[in-house]
């Protein structure tokens, strides 16, 4: 029953571009998408930097070509990235094979709810915003936008969400429940999340500096990324082309604290180790790690320690790409899965921007310049609030 799982299409929208080719250009030119706040309404507009998609809601509406008043920023982003992935893969959802949409989000429709919530108590005009507030809404929008979708579900495990979507899609295909799945995640910036992270005091007011001794926190980002994954049977049937293979995944829980990672990175260690075990790889087989690397003092130290625990003295080349996109929460793992796919396709490691000094305790140095190098396998980590830790392993075709 154990079918191989292939990535056959990728789509992405974030601060570094509205599609995969724009994103690739930014990544190759070490051009960050993080900057001053332009679209989010907040009193902290001039105080913080974020990774916004460089489009207004009106621009996004034009791109999706749907002027339904029920769509919100989360749905626009999700629909665009999912559609790009489907077109890129060349699948036809009308061909009778079973297609699933497995998405993930943390704040869902909050970016719209927060605009109208107070008003709702006084007037009836915006009560329908409640209908699109929940996490399932954007997933069903994707399904209907693509059409002929047999299965939908949505995951929310904080910042590891989209990794779990990739994992679930792969498992459903292996278990014979689906032939292929459109998997990924989306989170639009909202005042809600921005202020939430601000009260936790883990936002850097300057560009975030993952794995740097003087890192101060993360920059929030927004975006969506989706991957079409197919079982080998479905791929063979339509004579499709694979971009990369999903060979390993694991999900574990740190069970240490609601928001903080354990000092030793126990959950992360478990996730990485189990993902390696699943595909029968040793630590020497990993050519590059796309780290979670948010830029917070807690995550980067904990992840560094976990990396040392697993890899010992043979630490693979690694970088965090969050200094390009910002931390896009539920979308982060799928954005990084798309970036990993690009790394495998182009044999390029995209740099860890803004790094100067290694963390004293661990002394790990990421890749800081664009690097052309042979890459066969990539480990991608994603960790979240609630101790949710997930690791994925991708392989070159």
């Amino acid at each position: 029953m154990s079918q191989r799982i292939y990535i056959t299409g990728i789509g992405m929208i974030s601060a570094i571009g509205n599609n995969v080719s724009e994103s690739f250009l930014s990544l190759s030119q070490s051009k960050t998408g993080i900057g001053k706040i332009n679209y989010l309404t907040t009193r902290y507009k001039d105080e913080f930097l974020v990774g916004e998609v460089k489009l207004s809601n009106a621009d996004l509406m034009d791109l999706v070509k749907d002027n339904s008043p029920d769509l919100n920023r989360n749905s626009y982003l999700a629909m665009l990235a999912a559609k790009e992935a489907v077109i890129n893969s060349g699948i036809d959802t009308k061909d009778g094979l079973r297609t699933g949409v497995i998405s993930s989000t943390t704040v869902a429709g909050m970016s719209k709810t927060e605009m109208f919530y107070k008003e709702m108590f006084e007037k009836d005009d915006h009560l329908n915003v409640l209908d699109t507030h929940d996490c399932g809404d954007s997933t069903e929008r994707i399904a209907d936008y693509i059409g002929n979708v047999d299965y939908v579900t949505t995951i929310s495990t904080a910042c590891s969400s989209a990794a779990n979507a990739v994992m679930l899609g792969s498992r459903m295909i292996k278990n014979g429940l689906l032939d292929r799945a459109i998997v990924g995640g989306v989170d639009a910036l909202s005042k809600f999340t921005f202020n939430g992270f601000n009260t936790l005091m883990i936002l850097d007011k300057e560009w975030c500096k993952p794995f740097d001794e003087n890192r101060k926190g993360l920059n929030l980002g927004e975006g969506a990324a989706f991957l079409v994954i197919e079982g080998e049977d479905a791929l063979r049937k339509r004579n499709g082309k694979a971009l990369a293979e999903v060979i390993g995944y694991a999900n574990a829980n740190d069970a240490y604290h609601q928001t903080a990672s354990s000092p030793e990175g126990y959950g992360a260690t478990l996730a990485i180790t189990q993902a390696l075990e699943m595909c029968g790889l040793t630590t020497r087989d990993i050519d590059y790690i796309n780290m979670h690397g948010t830029g917070t003092p807690n995550n980067d130290l904990s992840e560094s320690i976990a990396t040392k625990t697993v890899f010992g003295n043979h630490i693979p080349k690694f970088s965090s790409t969050k200094a390009f996109t910002g931390h896009t929460l539920a979308a982060a793992a799928s954005i990084e899965a798309v970036i990993s796919t690009l790394s495998l396709q182009h044999q390029l490691i995209f740099p860890n921007l803004n790094f100067t000094t290694p963390i004293a305790e661990t002394n790990l140095v990421p890749v800081t310049e664009l690097l052309q190098t042979p890459i066969n396998t990539i480990l991608s980590n994603s960790f979240g609030f609630g101790g949710n830790c997930s690791s994925l392993i991708f392989k070159k075709i």
Partner: protein
């Protein structure tokens, strides 16, 4: 085919199900047009230092999880999988109103931290010190169904013991807004619940948790044989075709189903297809309904699975949920056909062990 043996359950609902001996001795009506859960004194279940910070969804979830775990006689599980449509709404709303009312100033992080949808699952992991697989599904009327389906896949992949649960809470503001959005209605008592001709549901809330095992043990009270979700089926015939194919996978037909629990929600727009399906069900099986006990919410199907387990254990189909005059001679198979907003349909097949 792999089965999921139900080895322990815990349920908080609009009925007095927190009293584990409850079986229809009392049936609580809605509070006009919605239901409040009957909640226990939580300090019997949760340590006071934790309890102080928890929102209601977390309290209901952690409590019912701990009851299910106690009943199953386990100390740890291979996976914790939770489902919730709206998550910790109380905490989300608290943080949202605080930031809107104070122009984004003077905020504290507690309610933000607890607003994330995976809070219940992670709190259970923290309390149990469980480092294993941990997942939260948040898809409307598929939130709980996805948990069950994932658990069955995990059994297929070699796991042994899994905790799953569905959780939903509402708040006074939420009730107020939904009522003003005309999503609620009072029942017209002259019209049976399953024949409703008017729109509006009666919102409910609650939590139900289950410890599932891959193998039958002396604790097993029933087993789940299958689960399937249907997204936006076009016609009633579509549902019936899918149902027939679903039952066929287990070598069953509708005639083998002793009780069919149907997710009528009192809103004619959402119930239409189930109303059309009812005569077929009635011909072959004993139809029953349950949302007049639980109210309607994203994870009401978790309550339905808890109820199915009860019916099998007690071998009794109470009048309070029966749709027809028929009574089953024995209850071997219970089928749950749920719907949410007329969009998310699901089948769950539960069997006696």
């Amino acid at each position: 085919m792999v089965k999921a043996y139900i080895n322990g359950t815990g349920c908080i609902s609009a009925q007095n199900t927190i009293d584990e001996s409850w079986f229809f001795e009392t049936v609580a009506p809605p509070s006009v047009d919605y239901y409040n859960a009957i909640e226990p004194s939580y300090k019997e279940y949760i340590a006071p230092n934790l309890l102080r910070r928890m929102g209601r969804a977390i309290k209901m979830g952690v409590t019912t999880a701990s009851i299910a775990i106690k009943n199953a006689g386990v100390t740890n599980v291979d996976a914790i999988i939770t489902g919730t449509g709206l998550g910790c709404f109380e905490d989300s709303e608290r943080f949202l109103l605080a930031l809107l009312n104070n122009d984004e100033q003077f905020l504290t992080p507690t309610s933000f931290i607890q607003s994330t949808h995976n809070t219940v699952g992670s709190q259970i992991a923290l309390i149990m010190k469980c480092h294993n697989y941990n997942f939260t599904y948040v898809h409307r009327g598929f939130s709980f169904e996805s948990c069950l389906q994932d658990a069955m896949m995990l059994f297929n992949e070699g796991k042994e013991s899994i905790l799953i649960g569905g959780i939903e809470e509402h708040t006074p503001n939420y009730v107020n807004l939904y009522r003003r959005a005309k999503k609620f209605q009072e029942q017209n008592t002259a019209v049976p619940y399953w024949k409703s001709e008017t729109s509006g549901t009666q919102m409910g809330e609650g939590a139900a948790f289950f410890v599932l095992n891959k193998h039958q043990t002396e604790k097993s009270v029933a087993c789940v044989e299958g689960i399937q979700t249907l997204y936006k089926p076009k016609t009633t015939e579509d549902i019936l075709d899918k149902l027939t194919a679903f039952l066929k996978m287990y070598s069953l037909t509708l005639a083998d189903i002793d009780v069919t629990l149907m997710g009528f929600s009192l809103d004619v727009n959402f119930d239409k297809k189930l109303q059309e399906l009812l005569p077929t069900i009635e011909k072959e099986s004993c139809p029953a309904y349950f949302k007049h006990l639980s109210g309607e919410y994203h994870t009401a199907s978790a309550f339905a699975l808890w109820l199915a387990t009860q019916l099998i254990e007690k071998q009794n189909l109470p009048k309070a949920i029966s749709i027809s005059q028929k009574a089953p001679t024995a209850i071997k198979h219970v089928l749950i056909i749920n719907q949410y907003l007329g969009i998310n349909y699901s089948f769950m097949l539960v069997a006696k062990v």
